[in-house]
Amino acid sequence: MEQLRRERLDRSLKVRTEGIYAISAFEEILYLLGPRLLFIVGILILPFILEAAPYWKRVINIMCAYAIIAISFDFLSNFVGLVCLGGALFTGIGGYFTAIYNHYFSFPMYLSIPLAAVSGALFCTVVLLPALPLRGVYFAIVTLMYPLLFSRIIEALNILGGTNGISGIQSFPNPYIEHYTVILILLFFLFGLRRFVNEDIGLVFRGVKDNDQAVKASGINVTTIKIYAVFIASLMGCFSGAYIAHLYMWAGLSLFALDFSIIPIASTVIGGGGTLIGAVIGSFILVPLSEILREAGTLRIVIYCVVLTLFIVFKSEGLMIYLQRKYHQFERWVKV
């Protein structure tokens, strides 16, 4: 019996665009820039496209905020090897910090959000400091507890509005500022981080993930590297939290909710871990899906978890890596 096997080869165009010839012709330039431009332009004109559907325009904001959290999870888990099951810690801290600045100190919004992002990130890093020498399972476990811990503390001490939360936070002056703040920040973090992980320090980050003993043996302090990574990741998470607090004009215990931990994880796995853009695409799929399923209540979380498990078990590469493969390579059947 004649047996066939599938052979994968790089497209000639891909090979041509690898060196200096990338800028030799428009075809090559387009091949490289096409997908990026499609994404950037697409996301920039999205608010205008959805002008007809005002409800879905608000979904863009949430979608991008989740995308930022998802990038931070992807960065932390696939580049540094710290699986953070409590992403809600970052959103919660960011949200509460901006609420404090805006409500108690009456800072204007354009000051309170960046301030909340930076100080929240510092706070999260300090709080996570004892957990940083850990890795793998242990880190995941400890981070899982943090959002619960903070919501319990706020509940128990009845500070910061207690269970009612802090309301009356300043809102965005108009919808376009609302959209473009988060879209531009998302693009900044996405492309900035892609650059960043290919710098020298990115190599060290991956070293921490793959073989921390080797990093240690090279005279680099693993914990310091992890502190940098956690600061960057929590900066993104805290920004999202602060943004969401201003969007809803409210900061409450629901900022520590399970959604902020689970959806970013699910989007990263669905989109493809380790690609950063995959996390964005994953949340662009999942967040609208969750809006459609809004009536279903907690069934939404069940659906995410089932999809997540199926993806991990059967399609662990994720959508983005699959698409990249299709874009760069072609397949054919050859005789064994």
């Binding site: 888990s77 696939n78 090897g81 699986v83 099951l85 004892p130 957990a131 020498p133 850990l134 890795r135 793998g136 399972v137 242990y138 995941a140 476990i141 400890v142 899982l144 507890m145 943090y146 619960l148 811990l149 319990r152 503390i153 509940e155 128990a156 921390d212 003993q213 240690k216 693993v222 914990t223 399970l258 689970i262 994880i265 699910a266 796995v269 871990g273 279903a296 209540g297 907690t298 069934l299 979380i301 069940v302 995410y304 978890c305 089932v306 997540l308 498990t309 991990i312 078990v313 059967f314 662990s316």
Partner: protein, 289 residues
């Protein structure tokens, strides 16, 4: 006296909760984050048996509940975890996702409010050292001690138990001696899940079956295991005594809300002072930097 008696009860409760998790992790290196979900599921299944079928014997319901929990644990390994064995991040996310899916599914399916309770085994109460203790809590203490003895005997004096320990200590050498790694992992998950179910049936009659308990059970189990050092049965028990008494003391002098805070603080202090946990020995260097 109150502190002493309730401290012991609380500690035994914690060790019952965490033995299953500790067992699974020490044998198969799978962090079973679905532990809390299995705990609640068993309680719910037994509740269904005794409330939906009239005249269903409680004892039979308990036996069925524990077996179903064990079977679910085995199935989770056989169907899902076996495919992602060894990929740490995937294992964590997958078991956590399964756990959350079960818990939130139960919540969606109507497990809300205070109506779900299991009957106590023996009602009434007695006085020990001048403190009123109800019989259910005494049953918990006795069963906890028996479970610990049983596990010790099982892992040290039976063929299956020795095989499990062999896999836990050196997987390759154990495989060379003809011990099937996957089979022992399935077995360990089944036993761990059954232990979770057993703990649920002992402890749930003291309160309501609520979904939130699933999360806190997972967290306390993990706290105990981290402090005790994974892979050590004795460490688990001692750590649960430490956390148990700490909790009772906070309950007495501060407020019930701080119980979670105490667990986390205990973890953090342990990690700073002795990163491998109190009794953790296995693969200390590889796991924690």
């Amino acid at each position: 006296m109150h502190i002493l008696v309730y401290g012991v009860i609380n500690s035994i409760t914690l060790s019952l909760i965490s033995l299953g998790f500790a067992l699974v992790y020490s044998i198969s290196r799978v962090p079973n984050f679905a532990h809390g979900a299995l705990y609640i599921t068993t309680g719910y299944i037994v509740w269904l048996f005794i409330n939906k079928i009239t005249g269903f014997p409680y004892l039979l319901a308990i036996i069925l509940g524990i077996s179903i929990s064990g079977i679910i644990g085995a199935l989770i390994y056989r169907l899902i975890l076996i495919r992602i064995r060894g990929m740490e991040i995937s294992e964590i996310i997958a078991t956590y996702a399964i756990g959350v899916a079960i818990l939130e599914g139960l919540r969606w399916g109507g497990l809300r409010g205070m109506t779900f309770t299991l009957p106590v085994f023996i009602s009434g109460s007695t006085e020990i050292l001048g403190v009123t203790v109800d019989f259910q809590r005494i049953v918990v203490v006795v069963c906890g001690a028996l479970t610990f003895l049983f596990l010790y005997f099982f892992t040290h004096h039976t063929r299956v138990g020795l095989a499990l320990r062999g896999i836990a200590q050196d997987e390759r050498a154990a495989m060379m001696l003809g011990i099937d790694s996957d089979l022992t992992a399935i077995l360990s998950l089944a036993i761990g899940s059954a232990l979770a179910g057993f703990a649920a049936l002992l402890l749930l009659p003291l309160g309501n079956i609520i979904v939130e308990a699933g999360y806190s059970v997972l967290i306390f189990a993990v706290a105990v295991c981290v402090i005790g050092g994974l892979g050590s049965l004795l460490g688990t028990v001692i750590a649960s005594f430490i956390i148990g008494f700490a909790q009772i003391l906070t309950d007495k002098y501060l407020s019930t809300h701080y119980q979670m805070v105490v667990a986390l603080l205990a973890i953090i202090i342990t990690l700073i002072v002795k990163p491998s946990g109190l009794f953790g020995k296995q693969k200390e260097l590889e796991e924690r930097v």
